[in-house]
């Protein structure tokens, strides 16, 4: 467990830093960095991030994010993780595990929003589509 964690931290240092750079150098990505809805796969169109997190991240992490094949990603389980590290995991996945990279599907701004949303626990209080 320790070994896996430290390997993960090494990887995070590699991935989180460029991600932070992007976040700093391209401010206000929330509008500009988001792909137009029409260009997205149909499965993402017209859906809130919360719905995607609950339903599709939920395929592995459970609809209530309490874990399954993937680990528990409720707010309390993530309390020790910072947003940048979480965002890096979401963007690049975790090689050697079943966690895939979501970078091909979401903009960096959206990924950070998802990381923040997970930390806040708000996705479990909402039920939007």
């Amino acid at each position: 467990m320790l070994i896996r964690n430290s390997a993960f931290l090494r990887r995070l240092r590699r991935t989180a830093f460029p991600l932070l750079l992007i976040a700093v150098t391209v401010p206000a990505l929330s509008a500009a960095g988001t792909p137009a809805d029409a260009e997205r796969p149909a499965a993402l169109r017209g859906r809130s991030l919360g719905s995607i997190v609950r339903e599709d991240c939920g395929a592995c992490h459970g609809l209530r994010l309490t874990g399954g094949l993937g680990p528990d990603i409720t707010a309390s389980a993530l309390s020790g993780r910072d947003v940048g590290a979480l965002a890096a995991t979401i963007e690049h996945g975790r090689p050697g595990t079943a966690m895939p990279p979501f970078g091909p599907l979401f903009s960096p701004a959206e990924i950070r929003a998802i990381a923040r949303g997970l930390k806040s626990g708000r996705y479990l209080q909402e039920n939007d589509r």
């Binding site: 796969p41 499965a43 609950r54 339903e55 609809l63 209530r64 399954g68 094949l69």
Partner: protein, 400 residues
């Protein structure tokens, strides 16, 4: 969901309860008794609810509430097809009376679960658990605990259990994800199972199926390109890897949803299996398990389901390509139709004789019914965020 859909669901919900009340009360207007062979359950994954449906009427008869977290929920049926056992994500096992449309027993048996099975004699229900990793077995009548099988490996850590199926001879077969093992728990001698452990079957088995005659157990591997095969007539021979290296060194695509293995797509000499991380359905010869073909498809397959006549197989796909279903012609082993029934196609179920295909459309809050022959839509039922569709004819099938 829309107000209209809710109203429609409410209207359907009322009558079987009246029916049940009339039956119990023995009142003058007692309706004719009914069988359960035409019934099914549809999981409403977000609401902890199941819809009880009549397959011929294509209508919801009742909604049964209070089943907990139903993400990835599945169901098996008692031999008399009166009761369903629903396996929830949150570790709950719920027994539902289909005639009365209500829960009759429920046990919180683990922290996190992934599915279950019922023994051939109908006596035992087994649940595969992620947390704590292992299998728990219950009396199908009362849901009283019968046996615990902790999935210990290595230095005593517990693996998550996947791909649990029933096998002939009152056996349950399942795979240990982290351990790369397949276990056979034999209950033919009573409530204390004898366990056969097959080690080194391959890296990270993620799901399993048993062939319809109950002889072969196949586990899909996430950690490598290939599948593990066990001949249950000869478990002493261990597991062999089939379709080893089917990716042929090509890089896998990101896997946003694990495929599911079920014993449906066994047609004549062929077995159809989803490839992991590829837009392909794999076809193997069941005689010697060599690769016959790799069928290019729209996305990463999740379910590959053949109808009971074996003429065609329907395939759905992983997020985000989950608005499409393709139909494979088993004669030519080619895709002969591509449908876009709606958003979030999660599950495919054939009616018992195969004339209809039911599709759950999670993001459209609907279940669509298609003509299996013409591929034309026949009906659409309003069901909030549906996932698994389970008809009672599963009661008579090994491994389902």
């Amino acid at each position: 969901m829309t107000r209209y859909a809710r109203a429609a669901a409410m209207a359907f919900r009322a009558w079987p309860l009246l029916l049940a009340a009339a039956l119990l009360g023995g009142c003058a207007t007692t309706p004719a008794p009914r069988g359960t062979g035409d019934l099914g359950l549809i999981v409403q994954r977000a609401d902890g609810r199941v819809s009880l449906v009549d397959a011929s009427e294509r209508a919801e008869l009742a909604e049964i509430d209070g089943l907990g977290d139903l993400s990835h929920a599945s169901a098996v049926f008692s031999r008399d097809e009166r009761f369903a056992y629903v396996f929830g994500r949150d570790g709950a096992l719920t027994k539902v009376d289909l005639l009365r449309g209500r829960i009759v027993a429920r046990v919180q048996q683990a922290g996190n679960s992934i599915g279950g099975a019922i023994s051939g004699d109908g006596r035992l229900v087994a649940v595969s658990n992620y947390e704590p990793g292992g299998v728990r077995v219950f009396d199908a009548r009362t849901l009283e605990p019968v046996a615990r099988i902790p999935a210990r490996y290595g230095d005593g850590e517990r693996a998550r259990v996947v791909g649990l199926v029933d096998a002939p001879g009152e056996r349950f077969v399942f795979s240990l994800y982290e351990a790369g093992e397949i276990w056979i728990a034999d209950f033919s001698g009573g409530d204390e199972p004898s366990i056969t452990r097959i080690r080194g079957v391959g890296r990270k088995p993620y799901d399993g199926l048993i062939t319809p005659e109950g002889r072969y157990y196949i586990a899909g591997l996430f950690g490598e390109d290939g599948l593990a095969l066990v001949d249950l007539w000869h478990p002493e021979r261990g597991a062999r890897e089939i379709l080893a290296g089917y990716g042929r060194g090509e890089k896998r695509l990101p896997v946003y949803k694990m495929p599911h293995l079920e014993g449906w797509a066994m047609v004549d000499d062929y077995a159809l299996l989803p490839a992991v991380g590829r837009h392909e359905v794999l076809v193997v010869d069941r005689d010697d398990w060599h690769e016959v073909a790799r069928i290019p498809v729209h996305g990463q397959p999740v379910f590959v389901m053949a109808g009971p006549d074996g003429r065609e197989a329907w395939v759905n796909f992983a997020f985000p390509r989950n608005d499409t279903v393709q139909v494979i012609d088993m004669d030519t082993l080619k895709v002969d139709d591509t449908l876009t029934p709606g958003r979030g196609v999660l599950h495919i179920a054939f009616s018992a004789r195969g004339e209809e295909v039911w599709l759950s459309l999670r993001d459209d809050d609907a279940v669509a019914v298609y003509d299996a022959d013409t591929h034309e839509p026949l009906a659409r039922l309003p069901v909030p965020r549906p996932s698994g569709i389970f008809f009672t004819d599963r009661a008579d099938r090994i491994g389902l």
